[in-house]
Every structure is written in C-alpha cells, then in structure tokens.
Symmetry: C2
Subunit: 296 residues, 2 copies
C-alpha cells in the first residue's frame, strides 16, 4: 500500500486509472455508485464499504457495490489508498479528523459533499505529513437514496467539482482528477467559497423552493396536480437529514440566493398587480431564455 | 350534422363514442393531440383544424392530426358537431362569441384552457338556443409546443376537469364527459371558481416559481446546474404568450397562492437564521410527505 500502490497513470483519461484499495464511507446512492463504477471499470479491485448499519452494508455487498465492509472507520479507512467520504456534510469533517491520525503517507482523501468551504476548513492543517484531502462534489444525484439506488453510470457526462486550496498536493489533485474522470465524469476546479456561493443558487435554492412549494399544497388539491407541479417539487422528496445539514453548512449563500429569488417573485407580483401584459411577457421570456439555455 | 350525428353512446366509456365532425381551434400541442387521438381511436372521421397560420395547419395535416383545415373560424366551426377551443385563454371567450351566432342547435363547444371562470362568464348567456358550451381543462401538457409535439396518448391516465354551471345542458355534459374519456382521460366535475383557485396553486404558482428561479441564475453558473435545477425550472420553458394570458386571467388565485408560498419561504428563512436543526428537519419532512404522496 501507500503511494506506490496508486499506480498513477501516465496520461490523464487514458483509461488506466488504478486504485489499490478504495475506501467508501457511507455506501448509499453516491457511495454505492462510486463503488460499482470503480469495480465495473476496473479502477479498484478491492472496495471497502464503511458505514454504521451492517444491514445496509450487507445489501451493498450483495449488490456488488463493494467487496468487503466494516463498521469501524479507522480499521477500514487505514487500509485504503483512496477514501471517499459520502456521508452527510456535517459528518465529513469530524470523520476525516477521526481517521487522519491513522493514515500512512500517500493516502488520499476526498468527499462527495454538496458544500465545501466548512469541510475544507475543518480538515486543513490536521492531516499527517503525506496525507492529502481535496474536496470533491459530483453534480450527480437523485431524490432516491440507499445502496439499491446505486448506478454504475451515475457520473457519466456529469460534472465533478474539485476544490483544491493553494497548499493542496498536486499529485493528489492529479490522481483525484483522473479518478473522477475514470468514473465517467468531467472535472472542473473551483475554490471552495465560489463553489458554495454558486451551489447556493444552482442546487440549494431549488431544494428550498421545491419544499416550500410542496408545503403549500392542500391535500384536497393533490389530485389536481400534473407533471408541472411534480417536476417543480421533485427535490422536496430528498432526504431531510442530508438537506438540513447542507442548508446549515451553507447558510450565507442560501440566504443570498433567497434574497435574489424573492426579489424576482416581487417583480412578478408587481407586474401582475399592474396587469402589465407586455412587461409580464418580457419577464417570462427572459426566464425562458435562461431555461432554454440549460437544455432538457 | 346536428345533434343526431353525435350518436350518443348507450354507456359511458363503452368505446363507442362518435363525433360526426370535430372542430379544433388552435392545432398546437393540445389541439393536435386531441385531433390525433380522436382519429386514431375512431372518435371522429372528420377533424377540421382551424387556425391563423396556414403553414402550421398544413404541418398538422401532414402529421395526420386533422383531416382538413381552414383559417376561417366561422366557415370551419359552423361545420363541426363538437368544437374544442385550444387557443390562449384570453382568446377563447371572444372566439366563442364570434362563432356562436353561426351555429346550429345541437352543436357543443368546449375548450382546453388553463383558466375557467372568466371564459365561462364570457360565454354565458350569448349562445343561441340549443348550442352548449361547457369548459374543459385537460391536466396534460408539456413545455413543448406546436403540432409536432402532439401525441395520441397525451390524455391517457390524465385528469380532465369539466366546469359545468347549474344551467349547463346535461346532454352536452354527458357527451363531453364521454369525449374526454374516449381520448383516454379521467373526468372530474368542478365549478369554475374552485378550479381556478386550485389551479392557481397546483399549476400557475409552480410556473411563476420556475420562472423566478430561472431568472436568478447568472450565466456564469449555468454549467454548475444539474438535474435538480433543471427539474425545478422546467416550466419556465413554456410559451410566454400563453402564460401571460393565464396569469392575467387568474390574478386573484395566483396572488393568494404566492402569499402562502412566500410565507412558507419566510418560515424556512427564519429556521435557517436560527440555525434550528430540528425544526428545519421537520419542515423538510413535512414537505417531503406531501411530495411523496404525489408519486414520481
């Protein structure tokens, strides 16, 4: 084990990416999909699933997402060359701090959390010499959860954002870049603060909006919903525990995004009150242009 | 022509529904799908498409959605036993009023508009003896538009709301019920005011929310969106002209729905400001329960 086992390929994206032993902390939709894709693509022969619930880990093993499992973070994580934390964002920092002292030089850590700045800050300066952590956020997911929702192609043609700091190890950054690319993802680098500000608008705000919209639907009107209401509220079905943590970790950016969203709604309300057909049409047209640019 | 040609079937939903000549005013997604479904299901042999643009009507004819077309509302509508107005909601009332004096007793009119109260009011009392209008709203649609988006199964397993008034002709109501059922739809009766209030929340509010959300996305962050943002904003791609008319026709209900939605967002914002994890989790859980009840 150690750095030699990582077998850094000669060229990025040449399909030769190999991890000796891959650790996955939290084997749900994201963690399970990483394990499955890594096994199917020959990136890792050995994939240790690390979690709290034996029943869930056994299910992940049965589904072929991992090759072995343990409920002991240190026992599992200390054997891995690369460990990905796929736990709720408020647990990642503490778990990295718990595992770090037991790691050998050359070990690389990353995560799959939807927020980055607090996690990167929590980890910074506490890692042993030769151990690297660089934050990752694969923009892939689903309102579905659990190992049985895992898919080997979850990351294909999706974007994974890596958030290195100025002191991040370039070797670890290259390895992680190749790792996500080998899983099928595109990779973009972004500083953690910019990531959180952007995702506050592109991901966390839509979640809050979807939940608020679902919450105002009286039960009597449920039969009068169609695909439009269902699409717009789909995110409200996500896991409340995961999302409570995400909103709390990224409060400032979420509040800023809410400010801008509520200002847009106030404009709409004003155009409606003035019965201003031309301005209302223009407002809807501007929004349509943004949406059309995103594709289906 | 006339009532006899309507050949009212003996039992509702027995698949024997026949319309002599079906008129469709506005042959886009909805109108085109009605024509295609009526032809494929043997409900109407003759389907007259009525519109303004010859090129679009010719396309509908080429696609088999209609069997003939005209740009003259009176010339086309006066030949039909049943005419469905699939034009923007602000045009339906005036078009019905323009056509009505030219209709023979036994003719039935309906529409497919997303608002009902103003349309029903505009039509009430102006119809010749023996001519019936009852509002319809098929809760089926798409952000796609135009004849090439038409699908024969657009109404299958969807709900169509009919909004008869106390003076509506029971024969026309029975015929329209069977007509929508023959197209594959379920049918529910609702008074027009209740329809508009409910749809203000279940359909019009999500459109406003989706557009407001799309409008606050900076161009630089477009690449950082994923399926969540795209789902939540999908409705923003809809036709601004159609939706300007819908919002204006249903201002009061939309404003009421906005009031409740903004109050929900204010609650979320407060829980976030107080960093109240338990209450935030509960708020998200309540929304999730509503969303889960709607199915995928």
């Amino acid at each position: 084990m150690g750095r030699a086992a990582l077998a850094l390929p000669s060229g990025i994206g040449d399909g030769m990416m190999r991890i000796g032993t891959l650790g996955i902390v939290g084997v749900g939709l994201i963690g399970g999909s990483i394990g499955l894709a890594a096994r199917e693509r020959g990136i890792a022969q050995r994939v240790i699933g690390i979690g709290r619930q034996t029943s869930s880990l056994q299910q992940a093993l049965d589904l072929g997402l991992i090759t072995e499992f343990t409920t002991d973070l240190v026992a599992g994580g200390s054997q891995a060359d690369l460990t990905v934390f796929c736990t709720p964002v408020d647990l990642i920092g503490p778990q990295v701090r718990q595992l770090a002292p037991h790691l050998k030089p050359g070990t690389i850590l990353t995560d799959a959390g939807s927020t980055k700045e607090r996690i990167v800050q929590a980890v910074e300066g506490i890692l042993p010499q030769g151990v690297a952590f660089i934050g990752s956020h694969p923009l892939a997911g689903s309102h579905r959860r659990g190992p049985d929702a895992a898919k080997a192609d979850l990351f294909c043609n999706r974007l994974t954002i890596l958030t290195p700091t100025p002191t991040s190890d370039p070797h670890a950054l290259a390895t992680l870049t190749e790792f996500w690319q080998a899983l099928g993802s595109r990779v973009q680098l972004l500083d953690a603060a910019t990531h959180d500000r952007a995702l506050g608008t592109t991901s966390h705000l839509p979640h809050a909006v979807a939940s608020a919209l679902a919450s105002v639907l009286p039960e009597a009107w449920q039969p009068l919903t169609a695909t439009g209401f269902r699409d717009t509220t789909r995110l409200a079905a996500a896991d409340p525990t995961l999302w409570t943590a995400i909103f709390r970790e990224n409060q400032d950016a979420v509040r800023d995004a809410l400010d801008r969203f509520e200002a847009a709604l106030a404009t709409f309300r004003q155009l409606l009150a003035h019965d201003d057909a031309d301005a209302l049409h223009q407002w809807l047209t501007n929004a349509k242009q943004v949406r059309d640019a995103l594709g289906s």
